[in-house]
């Protein structure tokens, strides 16, 4: 349900970097831990981008699996297996991948250089 908030934040970031140019593609990197549903994000992005320079832009979403590392014993694991407590020593897991909510790149239209 937070895909509406996320898509608004994505749109703001994209429009800032588009600097007035029409946007045709938006490429995102989204970590597993953000709990974003791809179809839902695409639905809301289409909605919030209407009547903006992003209207009709293709949304590409790269999924980043989560990886945790134990702060005590350096063991790495996927939280799908054992959540956030280390399977070796019970220590707390530090997130080293999976928290991404990143606009990686955009594709924009530019007038052909006539010089």
């Amino acid at each position: 349900m937070h895909e509406l908030s996320v898509s608004s934040a994505v749109l703001d970031t994209v429009l800032k970097h588009a600097a007035g140019r029409r946007v045709t593609v938006v490429s995102l990197r989204i970590g597993h831990l953000r709990q974003v549903v791809p179809d839902s994000l695409a639905f809301y992005f289409e909605l919030v981008s209407r009547e903006s320079l992003c209207e009709g832009a293709r949304l590409e979403q790269e999924y980043i699996p989560a990886v945790l590392r134990c702060e005590a014993c350096d063991r790495e694991w996927d939280p799908e297996d054992a959540w956030f407590a280390c399977t070796g020593c019970g220590g707390a897991g530090e997130v080293i991948a999976g928290n991404e909510l990143e606009v990686e790149s955009i594709e924009v239209e530019e007038a052909a250089c006539t010089a």
Binding site: M1, A9, V10, T13, Q35, L101, E104, A112
Partner: protein, 226 residues
């Protein structure tokens, strides 16, 4: 027309975080400690505040009430004689379901920062979106009531991971429920190992003294950014 790829590599929440830092600077300048209080709707945030804000001694508290609509919570807190500022989120798309840094920023002129030491921001009741948006707080407290069941930490890990204190509320109802506290705490430790937690009842006052102590000690613990 031709198409060019522009490398961005920016977190979509950076814009929010930048405004959150500006809020934090303003709070720091006035030496105000800020708590972001979050929970599902109906977990008892306002009742907890009614219980705890009365007995803070020399610490002058204020509340920023975030609601989609109305001022019911602010009206309830008015009797405590603490300054309460209402922030409604319903001018967004059907009403924003959370507070973000910009909304809090817009409310700053209405907050008596020079006259308070502790600001409690009561977020919109929601276990999802508020977790994503920092507003400039020193600490996040989340309230989970026993009527919500034992599995909530596993269903909303981002919310349970992002807070510094978990209040397990409505424990006076435990005799009437099949809530397994041990199981809940096991789930809590699975998503946020060792996070401080307190078992409380806003209705009977059980555990409230410990929560009040935690709040009173917060200014000394807070990290002032370099």
């Amino acid at each position: 027309m031709h198409r060019v790829k522009v490398r961005v590599v920016e977190d979509a929440l950076d814009a929010n975080n930048t405004i959150a830092r500006a809020n934090r600077d303003d709070f720091d300048r006035h030496d105000v400690t800020v708590v972001n209080l979050m929970s599902a709707p109906g977990a008892g945030k306002t009742t907890l505040l009614e219980r705890v804000l009365g007995g803070l001694g020399d610490v002058r508290a204020g509340v920023l009430e975030g609601d989609v609509q109305g001022s019911y919570d602010a009206d309830r807190l008015a009797s405590l004689h603490v300054p309460v500022t209402q922030l409604n989120t319903d001018n967004g798309f059907g009403g924003e379901c959370h507070l973000d840094a910009n909304m809090v920023r817009s409310a700053l002129p209405a907050l008596p920062l020079g006259e308070i030491d502790l600001l409690v921001i009561e977020n919109v009741g929601n276990l999802v979106c508020p977790a994503e948006f920092h507003v400039g707080e020193d600490a996040r407290i989340m309230v989970s009531s026993v009527t919500e069941g034992e599995d909530k930490p596993l269903k909303y890990p981002l919310m349970f991971r992002t807070c510094e204190l978990v209040l397990v509320n409505k424990i006076d109802l435990l005799p009437h429920l099949e809530f397994d506290m041990e199981r809940f705490l096991h789930h809590l430790d699975a998503v946020h190992p060792g996070v401080p937690r307190m078992l409380v009842s806003a209705r009977t006052g059980e555990g409230i003294d410990a929560f009040r102590e935690w709040l009173l000690e917060l200014p000394a613990r807070r990290e002032v950014p370099a």
